[in-house]
């Protein structure tokens, strides 16, 4: 970041004095080369700094070696769980968004009006559009304070496009065409020291047609000088997710823990699906995971190695030589292309916290 800009001034001899702007040094880590995964992904997921999780939580007293506090169950004390329920059981495409410049929460209605006009204008290129009139597509922007981790987090912002039903305008509900959600759950790493003109909502979830995403994204990019980028999830991050989510307590054990691998460099694509009974997976994880509330990289590696060696014993296939493309658990499922489906309301914020962290590492 360009923190610490200093004023330019003239030196004693009248010479122009240049200022230098510094930003705090941020160490990155280039992920190990063998995860070649990101190379085939639509966006650059290859580079990230630090360990993907846990880095931000060092201030909570963890050792700096990449430990992690297990995501706390969502604190529901504020607001309505119904509101966050709309995030559940839908496939969301992930984007990272750089901080929004001069985004003003008090003006959400105005923004909705302008965005609506923008969408109409984009749809009928070159034709006049009046701002504020009733249009085919209704745009609604609203705050979702339920989705908030730390106090520094900005409340999430929900964007919904719905079509007006012409036939019975009043009583029937508008059909939602597309929805998107800006959020930030424990994104302190980004929002710390951010000037007040900027709003940090680094994670964006989109559900619906890509064409709407492009129009909405363009409008936000133009209006708030931000940049959207697809957020891919590296196989490395997927292993973390599967380990963490396997260990989460769920009232009724429902779906299997499933890992999908794809075998690289074959003429035909070959996917291997590896399903484990959730209780077996949890039992295995519980034997590996030592300290409650903390997970280490080593534990994740051991967990995956156990699964791999078990698979090898039966099928003589080294899964470690393939690429992990998708993981599904009762908590959530995640695909390396950056598509997630969250299934459990209790762990919603935990999942979003991880995704926020991934988004931040893509931005910084």
């Amino acid at each position: 970041m360009a923190a610490g800009a200093r004023p330019a001034r003239a030196g004693a001899d009248g010479r122009r004095v240049r200022t230098r702007r510094r930003r705090p040094w941020r160490p990155w880590r280039v992920e190990s080369a063998e995860d070649g995964a990101a190379r085939t992904l639509p966006s650059l997921g290859r580079l990230s700094r630090g360990l993907p999780f846990g880095r931000a939580y060092g201030r909570l007293g963890n050792s700096p070696s990449g430990r992690l506090i297990l995501p706390a169950p969502l604190s529901q004390e504020s607001g309505d769980p119904q509101r966050t329920a709309l995030l559940l059981r839908k496939a969301w495409t992930l984007y990272s968004v750089t901080p929004l410049y001069r985004f003003c929460r008090g003006r959400l209605r105005d923004y909705a009006r302008l965005l609506g006009a923008f969408i109409a204008a984009e749809r009928q290129k070159g034709l006049a559009v009046e701002v504020g009139v009733e249009l085919d597509i209704k745009v609604a922007l609203s705050s979702l304070p339920e989705l908030q981790g730390s106090e520094q987090d900005q409340p999430a912002v929900l964007v919904q496009l719905s079509s007006r039903s012409r036939a019975s305008p009043k009583n029937s509900e508008d059909k939602i065409l597309w929805s998107g959600c800006f959020c930030c759950v424990y994104g302190d790493d980004l929002s710390e020291n951010m000037p007040e003109d900027f709003t940090c909502l680094p994670l964006f979830l989109a559900n619906g047609a890509e064409s709407y995403m492009s129009v909405v994204g363009n409008w936000f990019q133009k209006t708030f000088d931000c940049i959207f980028r697809r957020l891919a999830i590296s196989p490395f991050s997927l292993t973390w997710m599967v380990a963490m989510w396997t260990g989460c307590k769920v009232d009724k054990a429902t779906s299997a823990v499933e890992l999908v691998f794809s075998v690289p460099r074959l003429p035909q694509p070959l996917d291997i699906s590896y399903a484990i009974h959730p209780e077996d997976a949890k039992a295995l994880w519980d034997t590996i995971q030592k300290t409650p509330g903390e997970i280490t990289q080593e534990e994740v590696d051991v967990f995956m190695d156990c699964l791999y060696s078990h698979f090898h014993r039966h099928f003589k296939i080294h899964l470690s030589a393939t690429k992990l493309v998708k993981v599904s658990t009762a908590i959530a499922s995640a695909h390396c292309d950056g598509i997630v489906k969250m299934l459990h309301s209790q762990y919603l914020s935990g999942v979003l916290m991880l995704l926020t962290e991934l988004a931040i590492s893509q931005i910084q």
Partner: protein, 749 residues
Amino acid sequence: TEKMNQIRSSRTPKRPLEVDHKSQTDLSAWRKRGRTDPEKSSQNHQPPGGQKNDINQKNDVGGKNDSQEVSLEKALSYFEKVQGRVSLRNNSALQKHLAAVESIALQHGLPPESFEILLNVVLSGKFADTVNTRLLKSLIPASVIPENSVVTAVSWLCTNKSSGSIQLLFLRWLITVFDFIDHKEQVNALYGFFFFFLQDEKLCPYVCHVLYLLTRKENVKPFRVRRLLDLQAKMGMQPHLQALLSLYKLFCPELVTITLPTKTKTYFKNSEGPWKAAMNAVRQRNQGSTPLTQAVFLGTAQPQSRKRKWNTQLVLPASSARNSEVGTEKYCDLFSTDETFPVEQLQTFPQLLQNIHRLEFPSQMGSVLTNPLLLHYMNCVRDESIYLRLYYWMGQMLQEECTWCVVDNTNETEFKSFLETIYKAECFLQEGFPACEEFLYKSLPLWDGSCCRPEILKLVSWIPLSSSPEIKSYLYGPLAQLFFTSSLYFKCSVLESLKELLENWLNCNVIDMDPEFHSLNTTLSGLVTVVADLIHFVGRLSTVGLRLEKNSTLLLIFVLDFYETVCDMYLKYNLPLLILPPAGVFYPALLSMDSVTLNQLCYIMYRYRTNLVAAKENEESKKKILQFKFSNETYREYNQYITAMVGCLWTSTVFQKDTHPQGLRMDEELLNKTLVKDFKTSFNIVYHPAMLGYSVNFLKQICPEDTTLNFKLIKGKRWDWYLEYLYAQGLEGLKVFIESSINRVSQAS
């Protein structure tokens, strides 16, 4: 040809010969300004028919001779003067001038002055339709289209002198270039005329489109609504009529009471015609050369390739101001002036100076990169947020578009030009962008060393001086790996870019030596450490590189270029640091077969001496604020090198006196074994392999009759002559070295 002569002779009395020259210079002046002066063009506005050489009446501003401009000028004056019906066939003058207009229009677009002339010709029906069509198709604006030229054209349109197809093509042209017309008041005043043309069945769809673009609320009148409804009743539900009606309804719902279908996919047929692609091409070309013209093109669609994703277009955003409706009032009143100056209108430096207090940065900071005026402005503004916006934008663009990090990115030329744009902005600001620095650290480990090489290496030279130790692993590591495994030319360009990096750091630092700045978190000793690290790094690279490339002279020159900066750091940049080249660089240079290299080494050693002497003096006088001492090690190292050099070039004692551990000192027994007779004298300015050519030539000059090449003749007075001879050959480095480092008094005695 007789006809041609007639035309010519009819032209001559009207116009003196030098007119061509004047108009040509005027055009080039226009180009320099890159835009029209609205005042001037309105002054020049004259009623159609009476307009006489708008261009030519302007003052001679002085310009250059450019054959292209001449021919455009000639072509324009030809079209202006031409009379009667002229056919294209058998008329070489027409063919020539037509071709000139076409080629210039496609390449650069046409200047504003040319539209009136050409539209007059096209719509007056002087030529056959083939000519008119070709001219119309060439009407590609370079910047803007003056409103009065459109007004003139419409008045021609009303005379019906041109054929239907030309009228139609003109309307399509008007629709396409509508946004390029500089003002629209007078065109709007012709609303009724356009409306009249609705009755022409063929023109109707295009007239509707023009009207759609022109319509304002005050144009919506009951009689017009009635007329449109009549037309609709006659022609059926036509999408173009519906479009206009729906616009009328939008403005005056009380006048249009019929219900219109809400979902109409396309109201108007694609009327972009042959111009759109050419306009985009011209725009891109012009943008490259004169970024200032870009503001004129605002509001036109950006070229977008449909294949690519919406958020990954490497298009620098146009510098449009923030929509004031979007920014909160709090922000609008930042400067407590009534209004901000729209950034689109910022085109000249005086404008910048006059409005600097009420300028606002564009809504997307990325657009400043190609706008020198905004870069100037950026230099004056202390707002942190502008750097932060630029940081995020640039960082994301670089990562998303990097051709070797993202596998499906194949557009290397686009990425290259983006990198080049960043580099130019860095040179302009004399400062590296942090986003670019981070990008380099992230992407260099994955770089193959060939993709976008010049651009990447240029960007390396603007990495900001940072006191963090990580630069070693993020920059030096990957760079060293590439250096050792790549070609000689890559090695040379890496060294060149590191030399520029060092110079940029030093330039930045020499100013920061101002005592005030010492409160910075980077202390002086921190700076010295970072600079020293870079120099040691280059020392290692050079040593290994010279071994790998068998002491290539080319590489050696790049290495010594780097040390030419290093040796003067104390005096030139006020940095208390001197680092001598490693033996792996010094000895290959000293024993080089090439006099250029040896000369350069002599110069460098002379500068080291000057710097060290100055440091010693300052140290003794104790007057300097900066209390520091070069370590004795530096002096000792210098003395070792100087002993070797003097022994090698002057006293022929290099084998006895070179005390450097990697030096040339050898036991006499060993030297005897070589069976070289006069090994003792085999190294001095006469015998040194790099100097042998000079000494042979010198001998030939002083004793032309002696063919045995008796080098021993060069001594005493002749030794002095030989020195003079060498100096006269341009060995300035050798001269300053000998004059400073060798005590000639003792030598002469």
